[in-house]
């Protein structure tokens, strides 16, 4: 079996360069590639375009890369909860393209499935549709949206094996599987790395063919954005 294992985050991201386009998995702070983000901040690579549903918070997630001004452009569906983001956006330091969440997911999917474009009704008649081709199918209008073209996809899984197969846990799955399929180079960090053969092939969410590098992550904080609980009666 092909072995995809690299020593750690620093090695995994070593050929990410200034100006590259990255996909980063996660929804809010759930399922984000924490180790890769830390390594990117350490490396200091800049002028990055980041495709990610959200932009983290001020002191965690992609927010860490915003603080160090490493991000030139964000492509996201929702970017609240981040004061530094707001400051850079209003001052013009940061370029932001807001797109519908389903469009974001499906543009990843299209890239992963080898399709150049998709048609979606999301955004028809809104400013999202400006400059885009509209096609009518069965009486309903759809926007043509292109597959993403990303140099790297950085994803976080729960378990992975040395062959690059991935299993996600709970809703930390979110954008990770489609981004894993979409990157020209896909880097997966996992909480638990096992030998090939230890994962049941029936339980694999992302086939190792899509993953170019995998490493055992460490020191996961897994911060909770909105801690909501109920009382025991």
């Amino acid at each position: 079996m092909i072995n995809k294992v690299v020593a750690g985050a620093d090695e995994a991201i070593k050929d990410i360069h200034d100006g590259d386009t990255l996909m980063l998995g996660g929804f809010g702070l759930c399922g984000i590639p924490e180790n890769c983000i830390t390594a990117l901040v350490k490396k200091g690579v800049k002028e990055l375009t980041c495709i990610s549903n959200n932009a983290g918070v001020d002191d965690f997630g992609i927010g860490l890369m915003l603080k160090t001004r490493q991000v030139k452009k964000m492509i996201s569906s929702y970017v609240g909860e981040n004061a530094e983001f707001e400051r850079q956006l209003l001052s013009g330091e940061l370029e932001v393209e807001l797109i519908p969440q389903g469009t974001l997911a499906t543009r990843c999917m299209a890239a992963g499935y080898g399709m150049p474009a998709i048609f979606t009704p999301a955004g028809v008649g809104t400013e999202v549709a400006e400059g885009k081709e509209i096609r009518n199918f069965d009486g309903k209008d759809y926007l043509m949206e292109y597959a993403f073209d990303a140099d790297f996809a950085l994803v976080k899984a729960w378990k992975g094996d040395t062959a690059g197969n991935l299993i996600f846990r709970s809703t930390s799955r979110n954008f990770n599987p489609v981004m894993a399929m979409a990157g020209k180079t896909t880097i997966a960090e996992v909480e638990i790395l096992v030998e090939a053969g230890e994962l049941d092939p029936d339980h694999i969410h992302t086939s190792g063919v899509f993953v170019h590098r995998i490493f055992q992550g460490k020191d996961y904080e897994k911060r909770i954005e909105q801690r909501t609980v109920r009382m025991k009666e």
Binding site: Y78, P100, T106, T126, S170, R223, I224, V229, R230
Partner: protein, 220 residues
């Protein structure tokens, strides 16, 4: 008397039918989950990748890997399923979700909705709202009838950037239940207990159609 936010949620809950798959937006829509009548089986979808959203966890049982689209810690239920974001919006686009309930800043008399952006102020993004309103077969808007400045949110046309076009068919506010007519205009179906038709007319800038006898909402 005008309804509380919980009152609006309670009234909307009566629109939910047994066997429905429902997506609840943030704000008043989230409260609807608390008022689903006993004996009505519904499955709540969270568009970050979960069908069968359960209540908040007990203290100490929070799981960072298990959140809803509002990023709140939640639980699963017997029969829940987890999937990725593309699949999640696939089931939305393919109309597998029976009902979408979401908030709005403005709704126009032809069913346009604006709820994602106030130009000049901070822009947070549309999240999944544009996908939901573009594809859902059944959308209920839960909102206040007037904004904080006292201006009607039911308008001849939206002044804010649109989220979706001609997609809203039903609105529940603290004052009224209204349909958006296919030919345009709001049709007053029910009024909040003790609220007069005239009062609702005053609070509605868009075209309002009301019969002579508009019944009061029944909440319990």
């Amino acid at each position: 008397m005008a309804l509380s936010k919980d009152g609006i949620a309670k009234r909307i809950a009566k629109e939910i039918k047994d066997g429905y798959y429902v997506n609840l937006g943030i704000g008043i829509p989230t409260l609807v989950a608390n008022y689903i009548p006993i004996g009505i089986n519904v499955v709540l979808q969270s568009e970050n990748g979960l069908l069968g959203m359960g209540p908040f966890p007990f203290e100490g049982e929070e799981d960072a890997d298990l959140i809803n689209a509002g990023k709140q810690t939640i639980t699963t239920l017997a029969g829940s399923s987890i999937f990725d974001s593309a699949l999640s919006f696939g089931m939305i686009r393919a109309q597998k979700i029976d009902l979408t309930i979401l908030g709005a800043m403005e709704v126009s008399e032809n069913g346009d909705i604006a709820n994602w952006k106030i130009p000049g102020k901070m822009v947070k993004g549309m999240g999944g709202a544009m996908d939901l309103v573009a594809s859902a077969k059944n959308i209920i808007v839960a909102m206040q009838h007037v904004n904080k400045a006292g201006e009607s949110k039911l308008l001849p046309s939206c002044s804010l950037p649109l989220t979706g076009v001609k997609c809203i068919k039903k609105i529940v506010t603290e004052l009224a239940v209204l349909d958006v007519l296919p030919e345009g205009g709001f049709k007053l179906l029910e009024r909040a207990p003790g609220v007069s038709v005239d009062f609702i007319k005053q609070a509605t800038l868009g075209k309002l159609y009301a019969n002579e006898n508009v019944p009061e909402m029944i909440l319990d």
